[in-house]
Amino acid sequence: MTKADEKFMQVNMGPQHPSTHGVLRLLVTTDGEVLSGVKPYIGYLHRALEKIAERVTYPQFTPFTDRLDYLASMNCNLAYAMTVEKLLNIEVPRRAQILRVIMAELNRISSHLIAFGSFSSDMGAFTPFLFGIREREFINDLFEIACGARLTYNYIRIGGVSKDIPGGFIEKTREFLDYFPAKIKEYNELLSYNAIFIKRLANIAVISPDDAFDYGITGPNLRASGIKWDLRREEPYLIYNELDFDVPVGKGEMGKTGDAWDRYMMRIYEMEQSAKIVRQCLDLLAPGDYTAKVSKVLKPPAGEVYVRAENPRGELGFYLISDGSTKPYRLKIRAPSFANLSIIPKLARGVMIADLIAIIGSMDIILPEIDR
């Protein structure tokens, strides 16, 4: 520390701070209420998943992907399954593809509900969190019907899904879809267009398109900056090219494009779109196989692929190298939150301490996927 630094105070925020969304430590240098620098320290949840991947077989790694982004386990299962299928050249049956889309989109809604809820509680409003949890409970019940688990599903497997949906699932899902739009309206009335909430977030931590590219920001955070980029549209996988949905982008409705309010609002818009997708998929669902014929022992040919999928928090990528044996030679996991968090030191320069909470909350990071 130099003489000039002496007027600053260094404070640790976390690793166990409620607004850090997990075990994240931020070393904050402050000058009164104003931040002059933030240094994130990560790794508290490091479980060496990439090393574990080299010691287990391909199907055995699927449950580990549940533990990446545990609020969107279905999406993580999906991205991993697609990676291995690409290497093995497996064609997934149509029914399985539709089931995958249904699960992925339902999980996107439930993940965004948590984002909405936890962000509002970061901002000091506790009730919306309970609202979010209430609707998420409905989706958890649906997943429980489909696969028996409520958090770590291990449902989307290499080749298809683990089992077909039982009777009653479709009716229950329709019931949820009929019930949900009114709730989104409620969220908007309660929180999104609340004057205090807008004042708190508009024009805070604006991410310009160039910064978003430079730091590899993806997902709703990128779209909030006004860039219409969604892998489901740009590089359609599964049956996304047959579906009708919009890709919402930030327009700076309350301030500048790419501010914290835009990032928050992207998630509300996306929930509406996901509900629309699920409804279409339910109509498309026809009898068929729920999984391709996959041999018990998987030995992909030697080769390497990089496959990515649009997760609720951005692009989840798997870089997989196979040496022709039953275990991956190397599996690199490119987690969206890792890139999204890396921009925080840049965003948090010169802002108030309270705004740092708004920045982290609006990025909607999740730590297990960052630390892996």
Binding site: I42, G43, H46, E50, W229, E304, V305, G317, K332, F338
Partner: protein, 157 residues
């Protein structure tokens, strides 16, 4: 733009520093001479019609059988909507490569991760520290010959 065409443009600009085009990977890769990586990356980002806006992923790979390490850059252009993989191979006993942090600032953390888990040193990096493991951890776990420690401070692991 097709990856093959991108390879053609790179070969024209950098000549012998572009070593090989590997079509079998997904997306297809270009093997680049280690010393030229920063220049090649800058050209890929700023070159006409290339516009590689973002670094999707940067991974270190231990190729123990060949006595090498590799750094793999997965690049992507949101403007031109094309992708490519760039690779460099390093000496396994002394893995050094230039940083690309000045090209894509997001590379900072990826490079720290590759340093932490594989021991690859990125020359010119602004803040090369461990990122996922504790600062006093010994060894680089993703190396194929990593020996698991029995103890860490006072704990059995």
């Amino acid at each position: 733009m097709e990856p093959k065409k991108i390879y053609g443009i790179l070969s024209e600009k950098f000549g012998g520093k572009i070593k090989q085009f590997i079509e079998s990977t997904l997306p297809p890769s270009v093997l680049v001479e280690t010393g030229a990586i920063a220049d090649v990356c800058r050209f890929l980002k700023e070159g006409d019609g290339l516009d590689f806006t973002s670094l999707m992923c940067l991974s270190g790979v231990d190729l123990k059988e060949q006595g090498k390490m590799a750094v793999v850059y997965h690049l992507h252009s949101m403007k031109q909507k094309h992708k490519i993989t760039i690779k460099v191979e390093l000496d396994r006993n002394n893995p050094h490569v230039q940083t690309v942090e000045q090209v894509w600032p997001g590379a900072n953390w990826y490079e720290r991760e590759a340093y932490d888990l594989l021991g690859i040193v990125f020359d010119g990096h602004s803040d090369l520290r461990r990122i996922l493991l504790p600062e006093d951890w010994e060894g680089h776990p993703l190396r194929k010959d990593y020996v698991y420690p029995k103890r860490y401070h006072t704990w059995d692991v």
